[in-house]
């Protein structure tokens, strides 16, 4: 069998591979970190790697036959948001009983996002957060968005492969951190998991297929409790793994725990909660009810579908003002991430390079890629992708406000959750009407509330009742069948 040598983050690894597999499959088998937003369909071109003697190739369409050496793109660790905020719910700690039975008991909160998995370690003795670590979701290799991942779960062994990749990733984190702190992994007495509904299905090995097909009904939304040994995790054998409750196929426990984690001050009566990701999830909280919906924004703000788009990694243009740009870690620019994209769009709309209906005459140059001298630019088609994505978010918000019988001027605050929400410039977001312009001064970034909710759940059993209250008060609005969504969606594409 021919041999493959992989260079990744200064490590070199050699193995043999099966002829006939494409390079993406081979790299996955080597358990290397690789992103394939389209799931290896050969359509997105984002799984590029460097092959010695050949140059840059798209891994999923490259079928090697001889020995080869591959250079993976270096990646910096994902930046993680803090999990505490002035509006975080305050509660009495009630640790699980098992915590009384071991010395130095630990709890682990896990927020499984489609793109990123974040681990929060809690020390039960003083309720402190001792460690936070974020890594790329290992399932990214099987598709960037939920739908392509569900698609993969339908393939032979797909579901098992996806479940194992997540369980392996959790086990590695447990081993790594326990080793680092210098304790045995049986000190871990509780794991609380929040995540979108599909991620929770995959964690339990339950097929999420039905979530992708009308009427998008998940196999379960209620909270789940299993022991770690049932999942095959090596910890304390009695450790309970709790999956927090969801609302629907596209409003998961990440949103429920996020909503439950917020305790708004008295003067904030009606507020919006928006988490912008591949799926934009949003809720409108009123004193009586919570209205929520999910909207397919697509991965444009995460860099996919944008000609020079990329994730928020080193070298990504993350902010832009009148021709001046900044990159993450101040490295020379190699692409544009979501927050940079918004700033650039706001600038182009402001100076009328892009018309209010989204017409851009020709590619607009932003910077030069110092590695190969190519232009980093915005194309007319990129503008169209942004129009679709931003209209999906704004339309969802507008329909929630209408459904509650409220008007935008009765909204007291707009909480922006998640990584993108934290880094985007609210002025740019309202300038291109991704968010309602009238809420500019009421926009409050609130960090990773999904993780915050999972932490609160680890710390106290009482948090369950708060989660249940959110579920009970929630009215889910299905946008795809909502009357008037078409027109709303079309008209909100204007800048």
């Amino acid at each position: 069998m021919p041999k493959i040598t992989v260079h990744s983050n200064n490590k070199i690894q050699s193995t043999s591979y099966n002829e006939g597999d494409n390079l993406l499959q081979i790299i996955r088998q080597n358990e290397q970190d690789i992103t394939a937003p389209c799931g290896g369909n050969g359509t997105c071109g984002k799984c590029r790697v460097k092959v010695k003697g050949l140059g840059i190739v798209t891994a999923c369409t490259h079928y090697p036959i001889n020995d080869l050496e591959v250079y993976m793109p270096n990646e910096s660790e994902n930046k993680i948001l803090t999990a505490q905020h002035e509006y975080t719910f305050k509660q009495t700690p009630v640790p699980p009983e098992l915590a009384n039975e071991v010395d130095y008991p630990l709890g682990l909160a896990i927020d499984i996002g489609t793109t990123t998995v974040v681990f929060y370690w809690i020390n039960y003795i003083d309720q402190s957060l001792i460690k936070t670590r974020g890594i790329k979701n290992p399932q990214s290799a099987y598709g960037a968005d939920v739908i392509s991942r569900i698609n993969f779960s339908n393939s032979e062994n797909g579901l098992v492969e996806l479940q194992n990749s997540m369980l392996n990733c959790i086990q590695q984190e447990i081993n790594y951190t326990c080793n680092e702190i210098g304790v045995n992994s049986d000190r871990l007495v509780q794991i609380s998991v929040s995540g979108n509904t599909s991620m929770l299905h995959l964690l339990l090995g339950v097929s999420p297929s039905s979530i992708a097909l009308a009427p998008y009904t998940p196999q379960f939304t209620e909270a789940k409790k299993v022991t770690s040994s049932e999942l095959g995790l090596k910890t304390n054998p009695q450790t309970q793994v709790h999956l927090l409750p969801s609302i629907s196929g596209y409003v998961g426990s990440d949103i429920v725990s996020g909503l439950a984690s917020i305790e708004a001050p008295e003067q904030i009566k009606n507020y919006l909660f928006v988490d912008i990701g591949t799926n934009g999830e949003m809720a409108l909280v009123t004193p009586e009810k919570i209205y929520c919906c999910s909207t397919a924004a697509g991965p444009a703000f995460e860099g996919a579908n944008i000609s020079h788009g990329m994730a928020a990694l080193d070298g990504a243009i993350s902010s832009y003002n009148k021709g001046e740009y900044q990159t993450i870690s101040d490295e020379s620019p190699i692409g544009i991430c979501g927050s940079g994209l918004l700033d650039i769009m706001a600038y182009l709309v402001e100076n009328e390079t892009v018309s209010t209906d989204g017409f851009l005459e020709e590619n607009y140059n932003i910077a030069t890629n110092k590695i190969d001298g190519s232009s980093i630019c915005i194309s007319p088609q990129d503008v169209r992708e942004i129009q679709l994505a931003k209209s999906a978010i704004l339309s969802g918000i507008n329909i929630l406000v209408q459904s509650a019988g409220l008007s935008m001027n009765t909204i007291d605050a707009l909480f922006l959750a998640g990584g993108f929400g934290n880094y985007l410039n609210p002025e740019s977001a309202t300038r291109i009407s991704l968010l309602p312009p009238s809420l500019l001064d009421k926009t409050i970034p609130i960090g990773n509330t999904s993780g915050t909710g999972a932490i609160l759940h680890v710390k106290s059993e009482l948090f369950n009742s708060r989660l249940n209250q959110v579920v009970d008060r929630c009215e889910y609005i299905e946008l795809s069948t909502h009357e008037g969504f078409d027109l709303e969606f079309a008209m909100n594409m204007f800048f």
Binding site: S148, A214, R384, D486, A490, M493, F494
Partner: protein, 222 residues
């Protein structure tokens, strides 16, 4: 060419529905496709002439501009609405057989998929180009397509899907239609679909934009 037909074409092209519609802003207060079509009929212009000399010309321009990325979904939707307003006046003439259409197009979003914005744009664009359109809506099963096609000999079927997961259903539906009648023409479209997929599943035509569907239908009709 008749001036009022030219104006109708402009209304369709720019999405001016009626006098009261605020869109597009630069045509505020002017009569739209609705009023002008009624005036044209009152002045003795036939429904067929209005369709061919007004609506079809306007719709074609929008279709081409959309393909060239010069206009986007909202403008096409408004154009389609302007066209529908005009069509309301013309329908009685088509129903009575006084005016003829180019053919019949049966369209629907495939089983398992509820997305209909793209499908609606294609339906309206095709109607505006002189075809009778039977829209079966969303989440449509193979049997429904076949049943409708059997009622209308010579009709062409259009399938839409937005999700990679519902592409599989598209494949099943194309197979069922072809098993039922191998000569029946089927065209497909939607975000995850491409030409290669179209050929693999045995459909007759894939088009990335509505104008392409119109051109395919025209090639079948002639």
């Amino acid at each position: 060419m008749n001036e009022i037909l030219e104006q109708i074409a402009i209304c369709v092209e720019s999405g001016k529905i009626n006098n009261a519609s605020p869109f597009p802003p630069q045509m505020k207060g002017q009569d739209g496709a609705d009023e002008l079509t009624k005036q044209a009929l009152d002045s003795g212009i036939t429904a067929g002439e209005i369709l061919q000399g007004g609506l079809m010309i306007g719709m074609e321009k929008v279709g081409v501009k959309f393909r060239e990325n010069k206009v986007f979904v909202p403008q096409v939707l408004m154009s389609a609405k302007a066209m529908s307003a005009a069509m309301e006046h013309l329908k009685p003439f088509f129903a009575s057989g006084e005016a003829e259409r180019k053919g019949i197009f049966i369209i629907g979003t495939v089983e398992g998929d509820l997305h209909d914005i793209g499908k609606n744009l294609v339906a309206m664009m095709v109607e505006g180009n002189g075809y009778e359109v039977i829209d079966l809506g969303t989440d449509v099963k193979a049997e429904k397509f076949i049943e409708e096609a059997e009622k209308h000999p010579g009709s062409v079927i259009g399938l839409s899907a937005l999700l990679t997961t519902t592409m599989n259903n598209m494949e099943k539906i194309v197979k069922a239609i072809k098993d039922n009648d191998a000569s029946r023409k089927v065209c497909i479209g939607g975000a995850p679909v491409n030409d290669e997929f179209c050929q693999r599943i045995g459909a007759d035509s894939y088009n990335p934009d509505p104008q392409g569907v119109v051109e395919f239908l025209n090639s079948q009709a002639s």
